[in-house]
């Protein structure tokens, strides 16, 4: 886009604006220059993927006590670890490795720890608020059909109180946590530049290129990736241990893999130019689960859920491992190319 702006003839200010724009975009573009986001997200995925395996390996008494079972103790612990890994690991890497080399910078949209905690409580409260009414309705129906059962009444009252508390929390925290992100200040009015570009043949060609790229990025890539993964999984269905095709399983898995591929592409927007090997990682990220799903045993997530949710843990483990490896290589490359500056005494 900047080349396009500079190619606009007879408008010297456009050059200044383009330079200004490029300068202002740099802090946001360099957020993942050290691979910290990849490592954080990779470890979060590993946490998610490990839950069912831990469920299978650890003794039931760890999480199945009456006090902890109702909140899904172990999944909640792993979910919390995953959220803090995605938040804390990039912060730690930045603090101890990146900032001493490149200098400290705080981006306006960086999430703070208290905001993360509030967001997690809000998410849990919202989840319970949405699911508890279904449980309550089912319990009330059962209580009506079996009139006079005291244990049912206690359970209904308990769930009713939980619903009120969760809904109140969700409403209160929702207003505090869901905030409009501060927009990155831009140097120029995009509509104005477009108007200028449209006046020359070179500018029109440039605009077509930009539009095509945008369409490809936001529509084409998600469809292509999702379609590719879906197609490969369909072809590989015999290896998925089910004679009949599990459409929800294929659909959700494809969506998960495609989402991760797009996240990887977006997270490495600028870094992918410096590290072309990330294209290969992207291909492994997409194709890896298709190879991994049949090779790794599914954990037992319940007789009804295993056919659909069974392949998720191995897929998450494989994607988490790819994210982590990619992040580690990026981090090593960053450390290699950015030695610590000499310390000067004041």
């Amino acid at each position: 886009m900047n080349d396009c702006l500079e190619s606009l003839p007879h408008v010297p200010e456009v050059g200044d604006l383009a330079k200004l724009q490029a300068q202002m975009l740099r802090p946001a573009q360099n957020v993942n220059m050290d691979g910290s986001f990849e490592l954080g997200w990779g470890i979060a995925l590993l946490c998610f993927g490990l839950v069912p395996y831990l469920n299978a390996v650890l003794p039931k008494s760890v999480w199945a006590s009456p006090w902890t079972a109702w909140i899904g103790y172990l999944p909640m612990v792993c979910l919390t670890c995953a959220a803090f890994a995605a938040y804390g690991i990039p912060r730690m890497i930045k603090r101890f490795i990146t900032w001493p080399r490149t200098g400290y910078v705080a981006n306006p949209n960086d999430i703070k720890l208290i905001q993360l905690v509030m967001l997690m409580v809000f998410g849990s409260a919202l989840g319970f608020s949405l699911t508890l009414p279904f449980i309550l309705v089912a319990e009330i129906r059962e209580a009506i059909s079996r009139a006079g059962a005291h244990s049912d009444l206690h359970s209904i009252i308990l769930h009713g109180i939980e619903l009120v508390v969760c809904a109140t929390l969700a409403v209160y925290l929702g207003r505090k946590t869901i905030r409009k992100r501060q927009p990155l200040p831009t140097a120029y009015d995009a509509a104005l530049i477009n108007q200028g570009l449209g006046r020359t043949a070179a500018g029109r060609k440039c605009l077509r290129g930009v539009r095509f790229t945008l369409v490809l990025l936001f529509v084409g890539i998600p469809i292509l990736v999702c379609g590719g993964v879906f197609g490969l999984m369909y072809l590989n269905k015999s290896a998925m241990r089910h004679t009949e095709i599990q459409w929800p399983q294929l659909g959700i898995l494809s969506f998960l893999v495609a989402t991760n591929a797009i996240l990887y592409l977006m997270g490495n927007g600028v870094a992918i130019k410096q590290h072309p090997w990330k294209w290969l990682v992207l291909a492994i990220l997409v194709a890896g689960p298709i190879v991994v799903v049949p090779a790794i045993p599914y954990p037992d997530v319940g007789p009804e859920m295993t056919p659909i949710l069974g392949p998720f843990p191995p897929v998450m483990l494989s994607m988490g491992l790819v994210w982590c490896l990619s992040g580690a290589v990026t981090l090593i490359s960053f450390i290699w190319h950015n030695p610590l500056p000499p310390i000067e005494t004041p």
Binding site: M24, A106, P185
Partner: protein, 112 residues
């Protein structure tokens, strides 16, 4: 003086200098940063960067805070609210100058 020249003449001279424009543009995009970060990003030398920062601080556009990170000294820099307002005004002026140019350009292309 036509509108086009007036728009350019009205640009804030403190910000319009290329080195300072780079510094202010970077600071506008972040919450705060330290001296080392600006040094790397602008590729200015320490003396130039210091003198530009001193001018911006004198104009009230930049806040400089000397602090310590562990035992190491750290100079934190952030744009003040008047600095942010001045930069917004500067961008609007540049855009206005561009509008004028585009109007002139469209006028000449129609006449040809």
């Amino acid at each position: 003086m036509n509108e086009q020249l007036r728009a350019i003449a009205g640009l804030d001279r403190v910000i319009h200098e290329p080195g300072r424009m780079m510094i202010v543009a970077l600071l506008a995009a972040v919450e705060e940063c330290d001296f080392l970060y600006l040094l790397r990003e602008t590729e200015l030398n320490k003396g130039n960067l210091s003198s530009h920062l001193a001018k911006l601080e004198e104009a009230g556009y930049v806040e400089i805070e000397k602090t310590y990170r562990g035992k190491l000294p750290q100079t934190l820099l952030r744009l003040t609210p008047p600095g942010r307002a001045a930069f917004d005004a500067y961008r609007q002026r540049l855009n206005a100058a561009l509008v004028e140019h585009l109007q002139v350009l469209s006028g000449t292309s129609k006449s040809t």
